[in-house]
Subunit: 161 residues, 2 copies
């Protein structure tokens, strides 16, 4: 098996969120607008992306250190396996967010529904395609009850470094 | 900005697909069953994952080399920006797939709807949650016409090394 994989960020995500506390924990709970600034060398890779209403951002949780295999996630005070949560402290701290694409100019995307910290390193952008990404009637385990709890939709300090 | 990000695979994805030609190009087009074998040290991280009907696999396209900013994707013979496609040859060759979770035993997940090559290094597993990942009425740009073309739903040799 490959021992180590190396990636280089292709740009930076900018958002109104400078620290984790109070940040919406998932884009589905956010109406915040942000920008996704790709290095200009990748601008050609955005050709035709404006036809998609939503894109998937893949990024590195750069302010997350270490991991806990059974964290208490934001949504509930019970521990769950880290792979059954979206907690940022993961063995490989990779985050994904589906955001609405509201503008493209040169190598910069303007997006809505952002839920990442300002300055987060961007690894990849993919088009959001319901046929590939969507499952309408999915069961959502421990989140079934927790997801209705509005009060738990923002981050607190539990995953701060 | 961070120059380089290093990840270590947490396991391996096994599928019936030993080469890219003929492989379903997206899980939405596949009914193939596969296994996701995590290193046993991460088994505790799977606690409660069985409550989710679907999971998101994040993996490294280990047989993809280099990239093309404006490839002709599988679904159409027109070039599009790589970030408006799911082509495996990307600046950071990271793949994501939503698959149905049909079993969990120790550190092994059995999944359906797999669309990755056998032996692909696994980077992360996240629960699939429609509120976070799903957008029912998304516009899908150039794929709008192409997606109806059944004949184009399998890979050919265009991204082979």
């Amino acid at each position: 098996m490959v021992d180590e994989i190396r990636y280089t960020p292709i740009g930076t995500i900018h958002s109104p969120f400078t620290d984790e506390e109070g940040m919406p924990i998932q884009g589905g709970f956010s109406e915040a607008t942000g920008t996704v600034e790709l290095d200009p060398e990748f601008a050609a890779g955005l050709c035709d992306i404006e036809g998609f209403s939503h894109v998937v951002l893949i990024y590195h949780f750069d302010r997350s250190e270490g991991y806990d295999l059974t964290p208490e996630p934001y949504m509930e005070d019970e521990p769950h396996g880290v792979f059954a949560t979206r907690a940022p402290r993961r063995p490989n701290p990779i985050g994904i967010s589906v955001v609405a694409l509201i503008g493209v100019e040169d190598s910069v995307l303007t997006v809505q529904g952002i839920d990442v910290l300002d300055g987060t390193p961007l690894l990849d952008v993919k088009p959001f395609v319901p046929t590939f990404n969507g499952v309408e009637d999915a069961r959502i385990g421990w989140l079934e009850d927790a997801i209705g709890n509005e009060a738990r939709r923002r981050a607190d300090d539990r995953f701060l470094d």
